[in-house]
């Protein structure tokens, strides 16, 4: 056995993990670190002056003197909660429906998954036409039921819910998919026992299916929430944050600062705040999950 081989054998655990460690360092740690570093500078591409160290000034401005940050912050969570709650309720309900193997259920399942595989920007453009206030299909559809035409994404009040609706259309299938996978792994014994005890369908759902499914649904909600908080493509394709600033979420606001105003330092600071928010959110969720697991 030569010496290289011996060395490799001894350090096998480092060598095998090295590629992934490198990946994490280059693709995650460096960008996050550099963004954090930049957030202490005033650096604008629209001037020839080099980055200027301003320490916490960017953050001070974000929290106390930026008329667009807080509205964008609340919009982000309004959108997330609206979209994810709707998707979860619908997704789980649909999964329960699909779980009963009716005739043609496989076909329906396949069709149902289609929105998920389409490109968000393309979807955004299609829904843009559907929502068009005077000739769009959405208003025509409402017209069949005698409901007055709505402004949809052209109205500052309806725009965000309308986009959440499109997001729901696209991502409900994902919750369904995950829930279906979970359902197929549920143990039969509990159901048999319930049948023996004479529980009705309603009781079985609330007392057995839902508690057993909770971790799965929770995972689905977590995945969707992360996606929804950082949502960008649909909003950008459909309204670019308009009308006015009515659909400007944190990501859109960050994008505007970075790629339209070219204020790189300030954008980094916004994104750091955003990063912290998501971090805190994840921690809370994890703690919450531990607690629910105990009670199960």
């Amino acid at each position: 056995m030569n010496i290289i081989q011996l060395w490799i054998e001894k350090h096998l655990k480092y060598i095998f993990t090295l590629p992934s460690v490198l990946f994490v360092l280059i693709m995650i740690v460096f960008p996050v670190g550099y963004t954090a570093y930049l957030s202490f500078f005033d650096w604008s591409m629209s001037s020839v002056s080099p980055p200027k160290w301003v320490f916490l000034d960017n953050f001070k401005k974000i929290f106390f003197d930026d008329p667009r940050f807080w509205p964008a912050f609340f919009r982000t969570f309004y959108f997330t909660i609206l979209a994810v709650v709707t998707q979860t309720v619908l997704g789980v309900a649909i999964a329960l429906l699909f779980f009963r193997n009716f005739k043609g259920s496989n076909l329906v399942k396949t069709l149902f998954l289609l929105p998920m595989v389409s490109t968000p920007v393309a979807i955004g453009l299609v829904w843009l036409l559907i929502f068009e206030p005077s000739i769009g299909f959405a208003n025509q559809f409402l017209g069949y039921f005698g409901i007055d035409p709505q402004l949809w994404i052209a109205s500052p009040k309806q725009a965000l819910p309308a986009i959440a609706m499109v997001d729901t259309w696209q991502w409900t299938p994902m919750i369904t998919l995950i829930t279906l996978a979970g359902l197929s792994q549920l143990p039969n014994e509990n159901y048999e026992a319930a049948a023996v005890d004479g529980a009705n369908a309603w009781q079985i759902f609330w007392k057995i299916t839902l508690p057993l499914m909770a971790p799965t649904i929770f995972a689905a909600v977590l995945l969707r929430s992360i996606d929804a908080v950082k949502h960008f493509d649909l909003i950008y394709a459909m309204t670019q944050g308009g009308p006015g600033y009515a659909t400007e979420t944190l990501n859109i606001y960050g994008f505007a600062n970075g790629f339209q105003y070219f204020k790189l330092g300030y954008t980094s600071a916004i994104l750091m705040v955003f990063f912290m928010i998501v971090l805190i959110m994840s921690c809370l969720i994890l703690i919450f999950r531990k607690k629910t697991e105990v009670t199960l």
């Binding site: 490799i8 604008s44 005077s134 402004l151 308009g242 505007a256």
Partner: protein
């Protein structure tokens, strides 16, 4: 066991080599065959030209093979949407790219920024060519791409805000096109018929996009973006203008106007759903083209109406061509710019309805034959009274437009315009302070 270890060692090694190879993809590219002919040093040069999706590009693209044949220079044309164009250019220039040679530039939108950052080449020394004749360009168009005496771009497209109206509807109702803004409002209200999906007026309502088209209204009420170096969008004149523009679109505009930039607004007008439309004159082909429009011959043109404080539509150079300061093919690049802005080509483009900057072309019959006669008159009238900018002349134009656009949106929504204008002005003043 040993065999497996040997194998895994090889695998890891393979991974590393792959990684290394991926990282060093900047391997020396095959050498370009160097030109050996002395008579034409531009032979074998390939120019990378970055253009916008704009009628100018569409009109000049089929002519480029002609240029390639005459000069021996190859042209690689890339086209982007306006916003993406700015991002593309900014990113590449910031990274110090020398691969872009010639690009389209919006003098009012990014001219100041690009010049300040030293991204545009100084073209002054090239412009002495008397055949090409710089003095043929209208003065205001050249000025918009000048920094002191330095010329950093050549104008290609000029624009004025005008009023489009539906001749047939006006005749039916026996009314004349409005001469003043008050008349404009009255007529818009009169013709507005939402129950039949027909609206009296359409114009841009999208936050930032609306600012340029709002500018002529602002000037008409005696306002301006900046007065004596101070932000001036909360002056009584400006507030009146915000209120007027807002009421006009609120009372007689289509639903969804807040999401309209020019493609949506022009589309609505072209579909015969609006009686009047104010926007840039360069948009008119979209309204006449039978493939895009059902109103074609029914479109009338009028000079932008007079406001209480005068009749001042904008008259701007919306596009020009410039050269990358780091380009290694400057001579070839200039050959292209010279060709693209030559009298012959400008005349050729103007035949395809792209309004150019050359006075001699406007004066010649062939330069105006593509334009409806009425429009030619409106253009030459507007040329005399126009203002040479349609947005605040600052470096951070995008940011400023968003600020001002907020007040416009508030007006259309019917909100508290004065408060919105005051707030926008505060931010705008801050932006001006930061820049100086």
């Amino acid at each position: 066991m040993r065999k497996i270890r040997g194998l895994s060692f090889l695998l890891v090694l393979g991974l590393f080599i792959g990684l290394l190879a991926a990282c060093s993809s900047n391997a020396p590219a095959s050498e370009e065959p160097s030109s050996d002919s002395n008579d034409n040093k531009n032979k074998n040069v390939e120019l990378r030209i970055i253009a916008a999706n704009h009628p100018w590009t569409e009109a000049i693209e089929p002519l480029i093979p002609q240029f390639e044949q005459e000069s021996g220079i190859k042209v690689k044309l890339e086209k982007y949407f306006e916003d993406q164009l700015t991002q593309k250019l900014t990113t590449e220039f910031t990274a110090g790219s020398d691969s872009i040679d010639v690009f389209m530039i919006r003098p009012l939108q990014e001219g100041k920024l690009f010049n300040l950052n030293g991204w545009v080449a100084d073209l002054t020394s090239y412009t002495g060519d008397s055949d090409w004749n710089l003095s043929d360009f209208t003065e205001s168009s050249v000025n918009s791409l000048k920094d002191g005496e330095k010329i950093f771009g050549i104008p290609t497209v000029t624009e004025r805000e005008i009023l489009y109206y539906r001749k047939d509807i006006f005749e039916e109702n026996n009314i004349e096109p409005p001469k003043t803004l008050d008349e404009l409002y009255e007529i818009a209200k009169q013709l507005n018929d939402p129950s039949n999906d027909f609206y009296g007026m359409v114009s841009r309502g999208q936050r930032a996009a609306a600012v340029t088209q709002f500018s002529s209204y602002l000037y008409g009420f005696g306002g301006d973006f900046i007065v004596d170096g101070k932000a001036a969008i909360d002056t009584p004149e400006a507030i009146k203008a915000f209120e007027f523009y807002g009421n006009l679109l609120k009372d007689a505009g289509p639903p969804g106007v807040l999401n309209m930039s020019w493609p949506q607004a022009a589309g609505l007008f072209a579909q015969g759903k609006a009686a009047m439309y104010t926007d840039a004159d360069s948009i008119y082909p979209n309204l006449l083209d039978p493939e895009k429009s059902v109103v074609g011959e029914k479109v009338g043109f009028a000079v932008f109406p007079q406001g209480p404080e005068g009749q001042t539509p904008y008259n701007v150079t919306s596009w020009g061509v410039a050269m990358n300061a780091k380009s290694e093919n400057k001579d070839a690049g200039w050959e292209f710019i010279k060709w693209a802005t030559s009298k012959e080509i400008v005349a050729e483009l103007q035949k395809k309805s792209v309004p150019g900057p050359r006075q001699s072309v406007w004066d010649s019959p062939e330069g105006t034959e593509a334009f409806p006669e009425e429009l030619v008159q409106v253009i030459s009238e507007s040329n005399k009274i126009g203002k040479e900018y349609d947005r605040p002349l600052v470096i951070k134009v995008n940011e400023a437009r968003d600020m001002i656009g907020t007040a416009i949106v508030t007006g259309i929504e019917g909100g508290d315009v004065e408060a919105a204008a005051k707030e926008a002005n505060k931010q705008f003043q801050q932006l001006l302070d930061d820049e100086n």
